[in-house]
């Protein structure tokens, strides 16, 4: 289950963000995206999730070119916003995304525990802090079966203990043969991992 990008070019609003980008992520390995603001880390993730069509180049699974639908079917996504509804409780929020992904709502408790927020289960999500909301967003990853996780700055708003918890969760995904692409500005000690620097040539 190797994921790769070949000769990718990204344009946004007529501006070329990057061109001719090629990378490989093996099963069980992490790819860390590094680079300054505007270098295209988020754009690359949006492309890999099938939201943004590449201006040139393509993605592939095990060497077979992937359509946008192929991409969507295999990813779990964590973007900038946390996709939580203030009117729902923490447990309801998590249960909805887990069930939408085809999971069983009985997995909700374990998912919440994986990010250490099971004690907040019955609180309305509207009262959570930014860090707790982020943990709520991350916890659904553990319950899903997607082979590729795409994470955009997953550590933002998280305290040290939660970052450690997140790293453990990511490492577990790798150990189970999953793949990761993470845009990050902090070091994530994941093994094995490779780093792709964007915007370095300019």
């Amino acid at each position: 289950m190797a994921f790769s990008g070949r000769n990718l070019t990204c344009t946004r609003g007529g501006r070329t963000v990057f061109r001719d980008l090629t990378f490989d992520v093996a099963a069980g390995a992490a790819l860390l995206l590094r680079g300054p603001n505007g270098s295209g880390k988020s754009s690359l993730l949006r492309m890999a999730a099938g939201f943004l069509p590449p201006a040139a180049g393509h993605f592939a699974w095990d060497g077979n070119p992937a359509t946008a639908d192929d991409l969507r079917a295999r990813v779990a996504w964590v973007g900038h916003a946390d996709a939580t509804k203030a009117a729902f409780t923490v447990a309801e929020n998590a249960a909805f995304w887990i069930r939408l992904g085809g999971g069983d709502s009985s997995a909700t408790g374990r998912a919440l525990a994986s990010m250490g927020i099971d004690h907040l289960a019955d609180l309305p999500a509207g009262v959570l802090s930014a860090g707790q909301r982020r943990r709520l967003n991350l916890c659904r990853l553990a319950a899903g079966a997607a082979p590729l996780w795409l994470l955009d700055e997953p550590t933002s708003s998280l305290d040290d203990a939660s970052v450690t918890g997140l790293i453990a969760m990511l490492q577990q995904h790798l150990d189970r043969g999953g793949a990761l692409v993470v845009a990050t500005h902090v070091d994530l000690p994941l093994r094995p991992s490779a780093t792709l620097s964007l915007g370095a040539s300019r």
Binding site: T11, G14, R15, A56, H58, R202
Partner: protein
């Protein structure tokens, strides 16, 4: 994936249209000059409406163009959406204000024409109502263009609206006709409308063609301008990147 850059340079389009533009201007001047001379001085007054019938020569071609330009816009939108062709995208965008202008002209002349005929500037006549709704759809289309900053995304959103509109316009037109026959008071009904006298045809036909070439002329101007604006934007972005 389709390589966008292959089509992105519309030089050939500018070259061809710059060459034909003087001809279009000349033909427009001839057709409109002849048409208005016929309409104002040669064509006979109507036996019922008298001289007021001359408003028809402005109104009927404008109403025709209101729909014709929408059709052109919808076709250009489909081409832009399916083949991601930037010239089609620019053509659709440049057409909308011209079409909205013709629609407004049709509405205003319709009101001026209606006053002597119906004794009121506005009656909810089926055709006037349909044209008013078409005008709103033009405004919505222009509204989408002006509200989304990125021209590529704005173009595709506007194209979706133009296509949804082209499916709905016949339905709206039919429903308004239906509504009108249900509500039309008998006093406003007139048999058939003005039959077109043979003496009116030269004016009407030359003006219909004149309006069409006028549209092509303004369209080329507006497209050239839009292409320059986009070129400047692209250069600015390129400059900002270095």
């Amino acid at each position: 994936m389709v390589n966008l850059h292959r089509f992105a340079n519309p030089t050939w389009f500018v070259k061809i249209t710059t060459a034909i533009l003087p001809w279009v201007v000349g033909i427009t001047a001839l057709l409109m000059g002849y048409g208005f001379w016929q309409a104002l001085f040669v064509s006979p007054p109507d036996y019922q409406m008298g001289e007021a019938v001359r408003i028809m020569y402005v109104h009927v071609p404008a109403a025709y163009m209101a729909m014709m330009v929408y059709g052109a816009m919808a076709v250009a939108s489909a081409v832009a959406l399916i083949w991601r062709h930037p010239v089609a995208d620019v053509a659709a965008k440049a057409s909308a204000p011209i079409g909205a202008g013709f629609t407004l002209l049709a509405l205003v002349t319709g009101m001026l024409w209606g006053q002597p005929m119906w004794g009121a500037f506005w009656v909810w006549d089926a055709r006037l109502t349909s044209v008013l709704i078409l005008f709103f759809i033009y405004l919505a289309y222009i509204g989408i263009w002006t509200s989304i900053d990125d021209p590529l995304r704005a173009g595709r959103a506007a194209a979706i609206l133009a296509l949804v509109g082209s499916v709905n316009l016949p339905i709206i037109h039919y429903s308004v006709d239906w509504w009108n026959t249900l509500h039309q008071p008998a006093s406003l009904l007139r048999a058939g409308g003005p039959s077109v006298d043979a003496g009116m045809l030269p004016a009407l036909l030359s003006l219909v063609f004149g309006y069409t070439t006028f549209y092509v002329m303004v369209l080329i101007w507006r497209m050239h301008r839009e292409l320059v604006v986009r070129r400047i934007r692209a250069l600015q972005l390129l400059h900002a990147q270095e």
